[in-house]
């Protein structure tokens, strides 16, 4: 069934890419736009790093590493699972009823519904920053493995988070798109910086409540060999894949629960 789901998703992705490739001018503009987004995301960090020297012991290259990792994770989920990101719109416009009328699992349909090929440029740029950071930090294969693990885990986490955010829409009747955005875009923005800089309560939220710290912070610590120096036991980064998988499971459960509620009460 999973292979089936992936094949359906690939078909949709292919169809969307083909259709969007027709607008070639728009594609180059999208790339230019993503470039400016990347610049304006990183520029404040660069300016501040240049002026202050470092952020809690993290150099600009290391901050760029964090940025590249979380951007790659989130951009790929944003591109692939856009159906969950747009879920509040589906609820408001009654598209969910249409989904219920097709002989496939709802989660599968929502996951494969929208594929935004234009976001590829954002993903590419996230990976570009990542590559430059890795090179300039001269990361060895061991460290790079951690980076890859972090990104993979990040994809699982963001998938779970965007599903949980979509689940919230069931209870708020599709009015809480902003709350979902805080979890996804806000979460990604917060993780551009090392979690150690935040006040205790906020740090705890990002480590235990919405465990985004396992998306890039802990894998990065492991890649840079600084886990214990930052005050964490050496095994913590190894927890990342499990924590991220748990987030995904939580998201799936939340969404299923919300769906069940919708089906009994209607809109």
């Amino acid at each position: 069934m999973v292979a089936d789901a992936i094949s359906l998703w690939l078909r949709l992705a292919g169809a969307q890419i083909r259709s969007q490739m027709q607008y070639r001018a728009s594609f180059t503009i999208q790339s230019a736009v993503s470039f400016s987004v990347m610049i304006s995301d990183l520029a404040p960090v660069w300016i501040l790093s240049r002026f202050f020297g470092q952020l809690d012991g993290w150099s600009f290259a290391e901050l760029a590493l964090l940025y590249g990792m979380v951007e790659s994770s989130w951009s790929s989920v944003e591109m692939a699972l856009r159906g969950f990101e747009n879920f509040s719109t589906y609820l408001l416009q009654g598209d969910l009823d249409r989904i219920l009328l097709r002989p496939r699992a709802v989660i599968l349909q929502v996951a494969t519904r929208d594929f935004d090929a234009r976001k590829i440029s954002r993903l590419a740029q996230g990976m570009l920053v990542l590559a430059i950071a890795c090179i300039s930090l001269r990361l060895g294969p061991h460290a790079l493995a951690w980076v890859a693990l972090g990104i993979a885990g990040g994809m699982l986490s963001f998938a779970g988070i965007v599903m949980a955010g979509a689940a919230i829409q069931f209870w708020t009747l599709g009015q809480a798109q902003e709350l979902q955005n805080i979890l996804t875009y806000g979460g990604a923005a917060a993780m551009t910086y090392p979690v150690s800089i935040y006040a205790t309560w906020f740090r705890r939220v990002l480590t235990y409540a919405v465990p985004l710290a396992f998306v890039n912070y802990f894998p990065a610590l492991a890649a840079l060999g600084r886990t214990e120096a930052a005050g964490w036991p050496a095994y913590v980064p190894w927890l990342s894949p499990f924590v991220c998988a748990l987030v995904l499971v939580f998201g799936l459960l939340a969404f299923t629960r919300g769906l069940r509620r919708y089906e009994s009460t209607g809109s």
Binding site: A25, S26, I29, Q30, A32, V33, S36, V37, I39, S40, A43, P44, I47, L48, R50, F51, F52, G53, Q54, L55, D56, Q175, A176, Q177, E178, L179, N181, I182, G186, A189, A190, Y193, I197, Y198, A199, F202
Partner: protein
Amino acid sequence: MGSVRPYLQFARLAFQRRAAYRLANWTGVAVNVFFLIVHAQVLLAFFRARPGALGWTPHEAVLYFTASESLLMVVGIFPDYRYNLSERIRTGDVVTDLARPVTLFYRDVAERYGTAFYYLIARLPPVYVVGMLLFGVAPPLRWELCLFPVSLVLAVGVSAGLWYVTCSSAYFRDTANGELTALVFVNTLLGGMVVPLDFYPDWLRLIADVLPFRATLYTPVALLSGKLTDSALAFGLLHQAVWAGALTAVSLAIESRGLRRLATQGG
């Protein structure tokens, strides 16, 4: 320009349009507060490496960012992707607008001011108060604060002009969404949304001082935070006034040119 009454109507309608979405405002406040929490802590963390930099205390940096985040929506940094001029041009709805005996640019500006007034009372106070409570900041009571309303009015005007010019590219291309997004990010960077321009490297500071973007954010925000005084204040206000005038002239010119183009191409 004729009578002012219709434009006051447009402003009032724009205000009411926003006022209808109370829940959306509170979720928006949540978003502002979230980013306030994240970036204020980032600034504080950077300052730990080098306190008292350039005559700015960490406290003042947080005050600056609180003001910035509170004023974002008032000044109109983010566009309404669904209801804006470029969409009206693309779908051809602008034809009905142009059939009315009002200047489209002034109408757009009037609507901006209506929207700005809404956010001034609905968004600025709650976000600013949260900043005050969480970080213990308060606007310094200096005589320059009397000039803040002037600066704010000019800032909204410049912002309106920037949007109008950018949206007008839809006369010549299919959609302006790429340009709008780019404008947002260039504006936040060169307007000093996160980092006060004072910290920018000299060459970037020069660019920012010449271009119009600082007129929308940096000038009013720094003024409100008590960091814009004497000659810098005079320059800031003058800069705003000059750009407001220049953008008005450009917008009016574009409008007549765009009108001619529409007339030849059809709706």
